[in-house]
Structures are given as structure tokens and as C-alpha cells.
């Protein structure tokens, strides 16, 4: 692990924190345009929201103070998961970056559910419960998807694959499909934003948070979302890096650009769909994940 590795990784984290709220505004702008209206006045709207929340009072319900622990855990795990991606250079966690990625993403999701439990609100708990059901299905597929992507490059590490991976196109594409689907689900967007489902849960998991706590909660959600887009972007960037040799700062730029593109595509999909029901969502996901996983691993086994 060299100094430059660490620097780029830290830069990625910094950029993530800085632009996730901006991307959220882009999201809102895009949605507004699809709704035939103008939308937020500037690209910094979500930042303004956060700035305002930081100046507001914290109202803590009985026993709700414990919420700060899972809240910081969520943000920290999301950031750690992000730093296991190769931002143009091998990640500081290479060659075990995949393991760390899986671990930290899981930690981020789990602690997010804990927020719900520790806030003790009935809606939050239902939201957390839904989140749990969804995450437990999704996380299995996510692990399988990540592994399949890595296996189809021949190297069990993203950082390694970017340098000396041997990409087998067909299994790669199939595993990528599986992975990107899981990542879309973990970005908690419609139709899978079940935990926050406003019409029945009144913004579920985050319902009890106020002021700076809420700002923190929003940043955590956005970081989780950024992570989902960044992992998808990495999976797209890997073959480009490997075969056209875009490393270092340009590689960093490539990853960032792709992340933004993936974010926008996610936003577009979310804007044009409705919210699913938890039972239906799980059924749909399983019916998509099983064939995709089987296909990916068969292809890998038979060495296409």
C-alpha cells in the first residue's frame, strides 16, 4: 500500500461525501423534469438542506439517543466499503478488497436497520423489518454476484482485475447483470425503497431523527446510494482500465464519471416506476436472482 493509493482512496471518500448530496439534487432535478416542473433552484439544494438541518434542534425521543451509534456505524461502513474500490490505483485493502467490500457493505446495511430498532418508533421498526427482509435476500445475491464478476476475470480482487484480469466476456456480462441488479436494490430506490415507504411508513427508518441527526442519516443513505453506484461503475470500469490502461488520475476520473452516469440511470429508473410490496419485491428478486446466478456460475464452470 503506497502513499498514492491511500491518497486516491481518501480523495474518493472526500469526493463521495461532497458529491453524493449534489448527485441527489441531480436526481431531484431529473425527476422534476420528468414531472414537467422545474425542481430545486440550484445543484446544491441537498447541501442546503443538510446545512439547515445542522442548525436545527435535536429532539430525542425516549431511549432514542442510542441512535447515534448505528448512525455513525452506517456512515463509517459505507465509507470503508467505498475505500475498498480501486480508484485508478489498487485499493488500500488489496488484495482482499472484495472481502472487505462485502463485509463493509453488509455492515452498512445492518447498522442502518439498527437505526430503526434503536429509534423505537413503530413505523421505523416496520421499515427496519422490511429492510431486513430485503437485505437478507439481496446480500446473498450480492456476494454471489461480486464473486462471479471476480471469477470471470480470473482474479479474486477488483484491484487485481484492473491490472491483470483475464476477462471472459459472456460470463462477465451475465455476472455484471446480476451484480448491478443487486446494487440497484441496495440503493434503496423505488420500487425497493420499502423501508422508507412514505405513504404507509412516514419515511420509516429515519422517522424519529431530527436536526443534525437527520442530516447525518441523510448523508448515510446517500453514501450507501453512492456506494451502490460506485461499485456498479467499478464493474464497468474494470475492463476499460485493463484493456486501455487508464490508471491513476484519469482512472479516478473514469470511475467518478461512470459513477455519476450510473447514478443518473438509477434515478431515471426510479422516477418511472412505482413502489413494490415487500412480499412481491422479494418474490420478484428471487425469481430473477436464481436463474441469473445459475447461469453465471454454469458459464463460469464450463469456461465459456
Amino acid at each position: 500500500m503506497s502513499f498514492i493509493n491511500l491518497a486516491l482512496s481518501l480523495a474518493l471518500l472526500g469526493v463521495a461525501v461532497a458529491i453524493a448530496p449534489i448527485l441527489d439534487t441531480v436526481d431531484r432535478k431529473l425527476r422534476a423534469r420528468l414531472h414537467s416542473r422545474i425542481g430545486p433552484p440550484t445543484i446544491l439544494q441537498t447541501w442546503y438542506d443538510i446545512a439547515k438541518l445542522l442548525r436545527k434542534e435535536i429532539v430525542v425521543s425516549e431511549g432514542g439517543a442510542a441512535v447515534i451509534v448505528p448512525l455513525s456505524m452506517t456512515a463509517a461502513s459505507a465509507l470503508l466499503a467505498l475505500s475498498s474500490l480501486p480508484p485508478g490505483m489498487p485499493s488500500p485493502f488489496a488484495p482482499l478488497d472484495l472481502l472487505y467490500l462485502i463485509m463493509f457493505s453488509a455492515a452498512a446495511h445492518a447498522s442502518f436497520i439498527l437505526i430503526a430498532v434503536s429509534s423505537g418508533n413503530v413505523y421505523a421498526v416496520i421499515g427496519g423489518f422490511r429492510e431486513f427482509v430485503l437485505v437478507s435476500v439481496n446480500e446473498v445475491a450480492y456476494v454471489l454476484g461480486l464473486t462471479a464478476v471476480a471469477l470471470s476475470t480470473g482474479v479474486l480482487s477488483f484491484s487485481g482485475a484492473a491490472y491483470y484480469g483475464d476477462f471472459r466476456p459472456i460470463p462477465y456480462i451475465v455476472s455484471f447483470a446480476l451484480l448491478s441488479l443487486c446494487l440497484y436494490v441496495s440503493s434503496a430506490r423505488i420500487p425497493f425503497d420499502l423501508g422508507e415507504a412514505e405513504p404507509e411508513l412516514a419515511s420509516g427508518v429515519l422517522i424519529e431523527l431530527s436536526g443534525p441527526l437527520l442530516a447525518f442519516g441523510i448523508i448515510s443513505v446517500l453514501l450507501k446510494r453512492f456506494l451502490a453506484a460506485a461499485v456498479t461503475a467499478t464493474a464497468i470500469a474494470l475492463p476499460i482500465m485493463r484493456y486501455s490502461g487508464v490508471y491513476g488520475l484519469p482512472g479516478f476520473g473514469l470511475l467518478l464519471g461512470l459513477t455519476i452516469a450510473v447514478w443518473v440511470i438509477h434515478a431515471l429508473i426510479a422516477a418511472s416506476l412505482g413502489r413494490s410490496r415487500v412480499g412481491v419485491a422479494v418474490k420478484t428478486l428471487i425469481s430473477l436472482y436464481i436463474p441469473l446466478t445459475l447461469l453465471a456460475y454454469t458459464l463460469l464452470l464450463f469456461g465459456v
Binding site: R33, H35, S36, R37, L273
Partner: protein
């Protein structure tokens, strides 16, 4: 999944951005809109027809010794415009004003003060001056304006006295 995305894009594209940039742009008002009312104090008689017609008590009358105040409280107004319908002098006009937001409820009040006519006999104040003048003018055509500016009680007394005198004479 692709179908709804395409459909949404088509619908959004056809509609374009429809947002009216109020307050930088004009509001979406039609010429028929009924906003706040305005009372023209110069022609108001203080007769109280509007007060009687007002369903929500937005128009009220405050009586004191020598003054009758017609109070319009826009905060309670339901903007039906019935007052303008019934106003005999056309003093009440419905405007298109709707930007009434304020921190102080007082700002929403419009008061028209009517000094009352003083009875030359007993010195009591009884009817708003313009209303009194109007009644005088109307009755002047009939030819008996003499006791019109006298309060009803004194008028009755005077009338009775007069009658007695007539009979007696």
C-alpha cells in the same frame, strides 16, 4: 420495465415544463377571480346590509357612542362576494388581491368609521351621517324633511306632541 420509462419520457416531453414562475411571474389568475374586498369609504353609508349578508361574520359593526365602525376582517373572509352583491351604493368592490400573508392579524383589518348624527333635541348620536343624509334626501322629495335628523325616540315624542296639538287645535 422499459415501457413505463419510455411512456413517462414521452408524456413529460409533450407537456414540457409547465411551471409558472410565481412570484417572479404573474399568478395564474383568471379575470373572474374574487379576492379581498375593498370598501370605498366615500360612498359607504354604513347601512349594514353587507354585515347581514356575510356568511362568516367577516364584516361586523362595532357601535360606540358617537361612532359606528364597519370592520372588515380579511382573515375570516370567505371571499364569496355576497357583500358586493347586496351593497346598495356599490361601495364594496371585489378586487383580485390575494397576497394577504402577514404576521400580524391586525394587518388584515379594514375599518370604515362613520360619525353618527347627533340628535338636536336629546343630543344622542343615532345613525351614521351618510345614511341619515340619504334618508333626508329621499324624504325631501316627499316634502317633510323637518324631523329627519332627530333620533327616532325624540321624533316619536315630537310627533305625538304635534298630533295632540293638531287634535287640540
Amino acid at each position: 420495465m422499459v415501457k413505463p420509462i419510455l411512456k413517462l419520457i414521452t408524456v413529460a416531453k409533450e407537456a414540457g415544463v409547465v411551471t409558472r414562475k410565481y412570484p417572479y411571474d404573474s399568478p395564474l389568475l383568471t379575470e373572474e377571480f374574487r379576492g379581498k374586498i375593498e370598501i370605498d369609504a366615500s360612498i359607504c353609508w354604513g347601512c349594514g346590509a353587507c354585515v347581514k349578508a356575510c356568511p362568516s361574520n367577516a364584516l361586523t359593526i362595532r357601535e360606540s357612542m358617537d361612532v359606528r365602525e364597519l370592520v372588515y376582517f380579511a382573515g375570516r373572509c370567505i371571499f364569496c362576494g355576497r357583500c358586493a352583491d347586496v351593497c346598495p351604493t356599490g361601495a364594496i368592490k371585489v378586487t383580485k388581491e390575494f397576497e394577504l400573508a402577514t404576521e400580524e392579524l391586525e394587518d388584515l383589518e379594514q375599518v370604515v368609521i362613520h360619525r353618527k348624527v347627533k340628535c338636536p333635541i336629546c343630543g344622542k348620536h343615532f345613525v351614521p351621517q351618510p345614511l341619515g343624509r340619504y334618508v333626508c334626501e329621499k324624504c325631501a322629495k316627499g316634502g317633510v324633511p323637518t324631523y329627519m335628523m332627530v333620533c327616532p325616540e325624540c321624533r316619536r315624542k315630537v310627533g305625538v306632541k304635534k298630533m295632540i296639538r293638531c287634535k287640540g287645535g
